[in-house]
């Protein structure tokens, strides 16, 4: 009897499906803890959600009364802002699973950045009078010394007081800059040190780095699975350090980078102010205390930065060199009995003064934009007054976002693609709706263009477009074209480039079909699309 098929067996391989369900369960459980602000913690902020406006006002008053709660609220909003930025970046790169794993770090970095900025603002707020007094004191001491009624040591004491203030301010500014770098780096999932290097100027202008084309190539293979096929294509990659940094910088928009540099320039300006104090004393008395003095640097008794620290923290090679130059000039400056102000000195002083003024102007202009975003979110009192219960909206949205865990987004996806709750679970694992909800509310309170698809205004010199013009409401999200394409393809293909930790929609349950003759068998796999009902 010849061999022929007499039995056909069909078995379902569900191991991969089971693993994915379990991954989704784990992600679902981890998600409630991943933000670091779970439901119970949010409830501890004392917010009344969905209440009438009177109850909302009570919540606002409670915030205003309790400084600690205001800070916690600020940290929460900063965390939500950072998470939203990171979410948009994950949409662009397709690395959703990496973003989900990194959410704890994003929140921690955001909170640290908020604290650092808060410290700086607090210091500036309370130090203004002291700063003014110190400057006035130094001027008076110099005048007294010139008139012969004061002593050189009094001038030097007054200079020390001013430099102490400036050093402290510089420390807070540098710390805020550093924390902001770390926060942005965590948002985008890049290395903070490399980001600092890229912005340092060591590799040239960051704009030029961003526009640097990739020259390296890499062969990427794709397989055809059980049924063969597949192929390869050439992918452009970074060939050297400059291109690698440029590739990283492309994840940031120009506004973010300008604001970041503006923040760094604050500390730079303070460093130059410190140097100017020493030159002022040198010009007035012919010497400085300790002979060398410091530029942007710190003596052992001061809380400032040495040029080496400057170079390490800011990596701005030019300013490091400048600081070293100033240091060496002061160190080698001869001790003279009468102050000599040469033409050259005047020119240098004028150059420094102009530089400081230019930097100050640029810093203020660029900081306006940052303040526009920050104020609209962080200031609880300002948010309550005038706008339509934004505190309740923002707070409610954040709590809703944590509480609903992508449910509203899944409903929209369910209607759009006609997939059932099983498919919804895949989206629940990503927590997309959480951030869409938080993002739309935060966006609705910000002004600016939406070209970047984020909350950072894109054009602050031109038209200021408010959401009222577009009639946006809670639950809506602004995405730019590239992000829309990414999200749409992920929805349509049930997977695509999205690297989910658990994929149910589009996951194939494999059926093994074996044909057996009396003595020989020929097995084949049948892969069916699970969840797609045509």
């Amino acid at each position: 009897m010849s061999n022929a098929t007499t039995i056909v067996k069909l078995t379902a391989e569900t191991n991969q499906y089971e693993r994915n369900i379990k991954k989704a369960q784990k992600t679902f459980n981890d998600f409630t803890r991943s933000m670091g602000v779970d439901l119970k913690k949010l409830s501890a902020l004392g917010l009344a959600i969905g209440a009438v406006s009177a109850a909302v006002k009570v919540a606002g008053d409670a915030f205003k009364k309790n400084e600690l709660v205001v800070d916690e609220w600020g940290r929460t909003v900063q965390s939500a802002k950072s998470l939203y930025s990171g979410f948009l970046n994950a949409l662009n790169t397709g690395n959703i699973s990496g973003y989900l794993r990194n959410m704890n770090n994003i929140v921690s970095a955001a909170r640290a950045a908020y604290d650092a900025m808060d410290e700086l603002n607090t210091f500036n707020a309370f130090n203004q009078i002291n700063d003014m007094k110190a400057r006035t004191g130094l001027t008076e001491a110099i005048n007294a010394y010139r008139e012969g009624t004061g002593s050189k040591s009094a001038v030097e004491d007054a200079a020390d007081v001013l430099k102490d203030n400036l050093s402290k301010r510089q420390f807070y500014e540098a710390n805020a800059y550093k924390k902001e770098i770390e926060r942005l780096a965590k948002d985008r999932g890049v290395n903070a040190t490399k980001l600092m290097e890229a912005l340092s100027g060591s590799y040239g202008s960051y704009k030029a780095l961003k526009e640097l084309p990739l020259t390296g190539t890499k062969t990427v293979f794709y397989g055809g699975g059980m049924f063969g096929g597949g192929g390869s294509y050439q992918k452009m990659v970074a060939a050297n350090e400059r291109e690698s940094l440029g590739l990283m910088l492309r994840q940031f928009n120009d506004t973010e980078l300008r604001d970041l540099q503006a923040l760094g320039l604050q500390a730079e300006r303070t460093a130059l102010e410190l140097a100017q104090v020493d030159r002022q004393v040198l010009r007035a008395t012919g010497s400085t205390r300790g002979g060398g003095g410091t530029s942007g640097g710190a003596s052992s008794s001061q809380k400032g930065l040495t040029p080496e620290q400057y170079g390490e923290w800011f990596g701005m090679a030019y300013y490091t060199a400048l600081a070293n130059t100033i240091n060496s000039e002061l160190k080698d400056a001869p001790i003279i009995q009468e102050p000599l102000i040469s033409e050259e000195d005047l020119k240098i002083e004028e150059q420094f003064t102009n530089t400081i003024e230019t930097l100050a102007e640029r810093t203020e202009r660029l900081r306006d934009t940052w303040d526009l975003v920050a104020d609209s979110i962080s200031t609880v009192g300002g948010a309550l007054a005038g706008l339509e219960d934004p505190t309740a909206r923002i707070a409610g949205t954040i709590i809703q976002a944590v509480a609903t865990l992508a449910l509203s987004y899944a409903e929209a996806a369910e209607k759009a693609s006609k997939l059932g709750p099983v498919a919804w679970m895949a989206f629940a694992a990503t927590g997309l709706a959480t951030f869409i909800g938080a993002a739309s509310s935060i966006k609705s309170t910000t002004k600016g263009g939406f070209a970047e698809g984020g909350i950072i205004p894109g054009n602050y010199y031109g038209d200021q477009l408010s959401t009222a013009s577009y009639g946006l409401s809670s639950g809506e999200l602004i995405l730019n074209r590239a992000q829309q394409g990414n999200l749409a393809s992920q929805l349509a293909n049930g997977g695509g480039r999205m690297e989910l930790s658990a994929v149910v929609t589009g996951e194939q349950i494999r059926f093994v079909l074996n044909n057996h003759g009396r003595r020989t068998g020929r097995g084949e796999y049948i892969q069916t699309n699970f969840g797609h009902v045509s």
Partner: protein, 215 residues
């Protein structure tokens, strides 16, 4: 699926218990029960869940049964003359331990199993009859009685697989050419069954999930 009100100060808050916190006299109730409900519903999606497994096996049984029906029809249509209804030899089974099944034309693995086609002797049914059969036998009776195979599949397997040239002491007996009746039909039908099972699985998972959420 769920709205804010379901989680906070909403439906179900009283049924399942809530977490309450207050700061400075402002209270908010948070309902974690709905999230737990989703977790339980996700557990129902696992194949190892007994109830879900039972539903899936029922779906497999239904689809393989449909495949068997179609295969039988294909076999029946491909046989011109089939007095003993050999096409009914196509059988199906659903596995107990794994999710799957098969259809085949193999005989039972149990030795000595008897089938309807094994006709008992006439005298066994009529012990009081004496003498020969005076009742004329119908064509059908003759056709059935002249075949002593254990099951219908015995014939079908020969027709399906064919035989080699055979020679007996009486001479050359020739061979039966293989028609591959089962092979031409069954794999295709089972492939279609796999697609149908996949759709049925999706529906069953959805039903299990919704069932849990309704509780």
């Amino acid at each position: 699926m769920g709205r804010l009100s379901d989680y906070i100060n909403g439906a179900g808050a009283g049924r399942r218990g809530t977490a309450t916190s207050s700061v400075d006299g402002i209270k908010v109730e948070v309902n974690n029960a709905l999230i737990d409900q989703h977790r339980r519903a996700m557990a129902r999606l696992l194949v190892t869940d007994p109830d879900t497994r039972k539903r899936l096996k029922a779906a497999i049984r239904q689809e393989i049964k449909n495949a068997r029906t179609k295969t039988m029809a294909d076999v029946h249509n491909s046989l011109d003359n089939d007095p003993r209804k050999a096409y009914r030899a196509v059988k199906y089974s659903v596995y107990k331990q794994v999710l799957g099944g098969n259809e085949s034309i193999l005989s039972s693995r149990k030795a000595g199993a008897r089938y309807m086609l094994i006709r008992p002797r006439k005298l066994d049914e009529n012990p009081n009859q004496r003498g020969g059969n005076r009742i004329p036998r119908s064509d059908r009776t003759i056709a059935l009685d002249t075949y002593f195979g254990k099951d219908r599949g015995f014939v079908l397997r020969f027709l399906n697989s064919g035989t080699a040239e055979r020679t007996s002491k009486y001479g050359n007996r020739g061979s039966i050419k293989a028609r591959h009746i089962f092979a031409n039909s069954a794999p295709g039908r089972m492939s279609a069954a796999a697609e149908a099972i996949s759709r049925a699985f999706a529906e069953e998972f959805e039903a299990a999930y919704n069932e849990e959420m309704k509780q």
